[in-house]
Amino acid sequence: MSEELYEVLSLSSRYLFTLLGVLIVLRAFFWLLSDRAEKRRRLKKLPFSGMIGEFVVLADGGDLHAGDHISIPWEGVLGSVRSCDVYVPGQEVRRQHLSFAFDPDQGLVLSPFRGCEALVNGESMNHRSLSLRHGSLLQVGNVLMRLRLFAGLDANAGFDAAPSAVTTQFPPAVSPAEYPPMYPPFPAQEVPAPAAIMPAFPAEIAGPAAPVFPQEGGPVLSPAPKVPSEPSTVPDSADTVTQRPPARRRRSDRWEVDWSE
């Protein structure tokens, strides 16, 4: 090809190459943005994506109230600042109190930071790592919480366990007057199996529930609390324990596992 011809072709094609370059950039950003929108649509259908469960606050403490739910990601930091992955605005809760990570075999592994203390099922962590299973109690500062793992993340049965369609019943909320702000340090006890912690659905429901939280010097947990009457959610007999509650369900009730079996 002669130099003159090439020069004409090259000078003409520079506008084409620039146009193609602009098209490439526009297509790349369009792909980027459409991918992002697609991901958002997927995540909208999975409101608990990235979460392994939640802490259910059992008693009023700090800025939290009984019945509050705090979602738990796979790993992170629990503390009293909003930048923490699990935000617990309670008294005596440090800015960054402990770190946690979910392990399919061990459950939710907690590691307190230096100088921070917490109670797991009434037992002091004593600056060591402890694991929480579904239904375990955790007290940080004056905030008492119970861990609820989502179905399929049952640490005992393994990661791939299919969820079962049953609900759990937690002991009712207890007012602060019925238990001290911070548990006294109990001697280390064997953590009771979840079935002992989680009450079986009672055949009869009578009267207000007795508090199930440890009194000073008492046992770690009372095994058989009485559940108050809640016709919309509580089954009438033990035979119906495997049925879903028929009434309005909260969003957090969607994935639940019955540990009583």
Partner: protein, 414 residues
């Protein structure tokens, strides 16, 4: 319909990219009357097609990242073929090796959570590798950072970049300060002994930015910035070549025939390209010293013009944006920090060299990721993209697991 819709942006992008390179290589092949040009006119679009559409079916790669990376790599081959066809061939071979290394890195990231003890092996091995140039290396352009074994040359600092990102991500995710501080300080010390100040700047900047991303600790991060400024001032006072680089940056025309020649030639090339370029294959890109490596961007501006150069910058922005998005979607701290570290390193490297070529900051001897000639640089850049893609594949797997669990829940009998 949804599947077709999700692939349409990728298909159109790939078609435009393939068309661009087919035309460009055909034009250059016709000009040089070289068979290699015609082969590249077929091979490069085929390589882009394979990288964007075939590889994701075989390996857990991210199509968008592959598209952007392939475009930049192919652009490097095009510019090198325009200036020196031998370099282009070596770059194509390096790209093949880099692809293989990238896939290994993807699987390494996926397996990393089960092999954490390997990090200590990487820690020690990297320091040993980085020490080799001091013992066996040869000095090139004032820095002793190359080792040569026969006809094979290697720049260990390019490979140790990968270890830096891995180590930082691992120890920061474990909230352990001492190991990564020791590793970073040791790497910086070795690089300063080799007088590889550009790479030392990259390492320092990446460490600082990743520390801030991991901890959010602004006071310590600002202290790190102050420390960097102090070290730069000390370097300026102590090293003559640092003073020279700063004086060239401030006024390259003061000594344009000697010390400032390279920068002046680069700026002239950028200016002569104007908005649309002088035309592919025209101009005189080889008049710029080290045009194939440090000043490849000036060659790009001369040949294709400032508008196209701005498009290339936007491609880098898209790459960094994608990497940052992947990092923030990671479920585990280690994966998020790894993807973020790889993204920061690529972005910082691009910024440092582009800033030097455009006279925004003093020039340093680092390469433009994916485009510059250099096997070590290309392989390490592709490995960093491999880390990001590995994390994205884990993100996708986690999302699919969530979908499966939700479907199981919906499918349970009442």
């Amino acid at each position: 319909m949804s599947k077709r819709k999700s692939h349409t942006p990728g298909r159109r992008l790939s078609l435009v990219v393939m068309l661009f390179f087919a035309l460009a290589f055909l034009l250059l092949g016709a000009r040089k009357n070289d068979f290699m040009g015609y082969i590249l006119a077929l091979a490069v679009p085929a390589m882009i097609f394979v990288g964007t559409w075939v590889l994701p079916h075989l390996f857990p790669t991210d199509r968008l990242l592959m598209s952007l990376t392939n475009f930049l790599c192919a652009l490097g081959v095009l510019l090198l073929y325009d200036t020196n066809p031998a370099y282009a061939l070596q770059q194509v071979i390096s790209y093949g090796v880099g692809l293989f290394a990238m896939i290994l890195c993807i699987y390494f990231v996926r397996a990393m959570h089960t092999g954490r003890r390997i990090i200590w092996l990487i820690f020690v091995g990297s320091l040993a590798l980085l020490s080799l140039p001091l013992l066996l290396g040869r000095e090139i352009n004032g820095a002793k950072n190359w080792i040569t074994i026969g006809s094979f040359s290697l720049q260990p600092s390019e490979l140790v970049k990968l270890s830096l990102v891995l180590s930082l991500a691992f120890f920061l995710s474990q909230r352990r300060m001492l190991p990564w501080v020791v590793f970073s300080v040791a790497c910086l010390g070795l690089l300063l002994l080799q007088k590889d100040l550009g790479t030392a700047l990259l390492y320092y900047g990446t460490t600082l930015l990743l520390f801030w991303a991991a901890t959010g600790n602004l006071p310590f991060s600002l202290l790190g910035v102050a420390g960097g400024v102090g070290a730069a001032w000390y370097g300026y006072q102590s090293f003559a070549h640092v003073r020279l680089r700063v004086s060239i940056w401030l006024d390259p025309w003061a000594d344009y025939e000697n010390a400032g020649y390279q920068l002046v030639q680069g700026l002239n090339a950028i200016a002569s390209g104007g908005l649309w370029g002088v035309g592919l294959g025209l101009g005189s890109p080889t008049s710029i010293p080290v045009y194939e490596s440090d000043f490849i961007f000036a060659v790009l501006c001369e040949q294709f013009g400032l508008v196209f150069a701005a498009c290339v910058l936007l491609i880098y922005v898209a790459l960094i944006w994608r990497g940052a998005t992947i990092a923030m979607s990671a479920r585990r701290r280690f994966h998020g920090l790894l993807a973020m570290g790889a993204t920061l390193l690529l972005g910082l490297q691009a910024f440092v060299i582009l800033g030097g070529v455009l006279k925004l900051i003093p020039l340093t001897g680092v390469t433009l990721p994916f485009i510059s000639y250099g096997g070590s640089s290309l392989v390490s850049s592709l490995c960093l993209v491999g880390f990001i893609q590995g994390v994205e594949s884990l993100n996708e797997a986690d999302l699919e697991e969530d979908t499966r669990l939700a479907m199981l829940e919906r499918g349970n009998p009442a």
